[in-house]
Symmetry: C2
């Protein structure tokens, strides 16, 4: 059982490694009975493209290997973006999150959009700005509306984070051939933690009619480690039946990963959502994404959407935690937060049992220019 990532020692080429405590095991330096080219690479994509049989063989060989000669202390390496991201799609799969947003902005309507229980709502995000944990979060600039009159331009005033899980596609699919919900897991290589940084003021102004754009496209951070879905298999939990039952192409007994998640702001845990608080399963998200014939590529990244639970302390973004800024959070040092301030550091963590997702860390830097 091991998470995979890409590391670089000073002066050497990037290589694929497996996490082992405070070290990374250089897979290209072990004899795993697989072509060394799978591991002497700057991304996991070649390994991910191989499919479940290879993934299982590698995991088994790794478990049986004497890894000592291939261990490199984490302190001696840099961790790189583990995946060359193909298409990035972000979903909106937590009913608690979607309903909270509805209650804030459409208090007189049903909290959930009319289509929400019929399909996993999602949209395409920007792949070029998916970055690895630790990358600075430069406050974006853009258009927002304040009071009466036209839009202003400047640094985002309502900078938020979104705690999400990300599903990483390994096995591609064929254009025109939908991936059935029952086959979805055969395509998924692993799971990451994901922070969908969000400029709420930009978002409010731009998102009607065609969805979020500059409010989200400036940065999306993921963990340096990808946890294989196989390692999470024992931690799938059934969810309550979906009501109304979804259309046949989405029909399965809904499930989620029982991951305990943690949102830390400036050293203090401010929320503890759980991966089980999703309505749509990863398999349903993937089936919906491909039902129209759209093809998957190795490296596709699917975000779950903000993971929020029913409790106040289970909300996965500041928009919900501060109820759109109306209920500021008070931190241990007595300071308060509605949205993120320059210098703030956000860390996402997660895991279940012995399975640890890699953390996602980001510090907010002032806008430039």
């Amino acid at each position: 059982m091991s998470a995979y990532g890409v590391f670089r020692r000073a002066g050497e080429a990037p290589r694929v490694g497996a996490r082992e405590g405070d070290a990374v095991v250089d897979l290209s330096a072990l004899d795993l009975d697989e072509p060394r080219e799978l591991f002497a690479r700057p991304s996991l994509n070649a390994l991910m493209a191989e499919g479940p049989a290879t993934w299982a063989r590698v995991a088994e060989a790794l478990a049986a290997a004497d890894t000592e000669p291939a261990r490199v202390p984490l302190a001696d390496v840099g961790l790189l973006l583990p995946v060359e991201v193909a298409d990035y799609v972000d979903f909106y799969s937590s009913a608690h999150h979607a309903a909270n947003v509805g209650r804030m902005f459409r208090p007189d309507d049903d909290p959930l959009p009319v289509n929400w229980r019929h399909l996993p709502v999602g949209y395409h995000g920007r792949s070029s700005t998916v970055v690895v944990t630790g990358t600075p979060v430069v406050r974006p600039r853009g258009q927002y509306v304040e009071g009466e009159g036209g839009p202003s331009f400047g640094a985002c005033r309502l900078l938020d984070l979104e705690l999400e899980l990300g599903w990483v596609v390994g096995v591609p699919s064929t254009l025109g051939e939908p991936v059935g919900v029952e086959h979805a897991l055969e395509h998924l290589f692993g799971v990451v933690l994901l922070n969908d940084w969000s400029a709420r003021d930009l978002q409010f102004w731009e998102m009607v009619p065609l969805g979020p754009f500059t409010a989200k496209s400036f940065l999306t951070s993921i963990s340096a480690w990808v946890v294989p879905t196989a390692d999470l298999e024992p931690h799938r939990v059934p969810l309550d039946p979906q009501e109304p039952p979804p259309l046949p192409y989405l029909h399965e007994a809904p499930w989620a990963y029982d991951l305990d998640l943690e949102l830390e702001l400036d050293g203090e845990v401010v929320a503890r959502p759980s991966g089980r608080h999703l309505y749509w399963s990863p398999a349903q998200q993937l089936a919906h994404l491909t039902v129209n014939g759209a093809s998957l590529r190795t490296g596709d990244l699917l975000g779950s959407g903000t993971v929020s639970g029913p409790g106040r302390e289970e909300r996965g973004c500041l928009l919900e935690l501060t109820w759109a800024g109306s209920e500021p959070l008070t931190l241990a040092d007595g300071s308060t937060r509605t949205f993120l301030e320059d210098g703030d550091e956000v860390v996402l963590r997660g895991g279940v049992g012995e399975v640890r997702l890699g953390e996602v860390r980001g510090r907010v830097e002032p806008a430039r220019g």
Copy 2:
């Protein structure tokens, strides 16, 4: 002056070529004083990444070369997708198109969304399903709502096309550093024709709150030839001043390419829009896309959005041409169309003076499954 593409002769590797009448000039077989690796490639990306100085040198060397020994008849080659698409963003930049949509679906409101004259509205599309002209258009399946009650699932009933121009990015930019509107053209390598196939019934049901998703992601077709922006430079035309004047980061004297466009359905030209009927210039689209710090990559594709003019015969999609199906088109054979039927063939063409964009052709095939 020449458009570039990627071709393959049976049994040979794909290579970069330049169009010359009924032939393609194999650039890897000419001595152009550039590294041959730029041209012995399955995409234009390596050439595009080089930047304007190289693009100009190659065009000059090509014009001076004896191309005869490197000419291959088009009949002997297959044309491939010319660009390895990085991120694909689709804009909504024609005021006539956006206002027509507004008049149809929000007859009591301002035809243009409130933000429309302040920013180039856009959203990210799916890169994996950008295909080259000639690729069959399999009717997608998905969710739609008919009458009362919940959604149905089946083959799209309202299949449409959208005639667009596409701007192809050559020179990448740096994360966190916006590309100023005055520098945008330094990044743009060329122009393609683009058909943004659209499943209107899927779109109506899914697009609130996060924008179009499965309604668009099944297929986007582009021409096999990329026309260098340098060749279109003499054909830039000024547009009327924008009112209200846009924010400073978008401020420039607005312009467009004076391209005559043609939408052919089953052998009959049903619309003749012009490239000059855009409100936001390609430079403004690119400046807006990067104003938040989002980075460009070689191969990024920006769609203009449907290009529609003021006249009835200048509308770039069936939604407008048939006013949402209420005014069917009558074709020469007496048959009528509201939206596309199986077997229909759509061809987009365009050009100005001696500059010809490559055509975009697609035939609708029945839904599968």
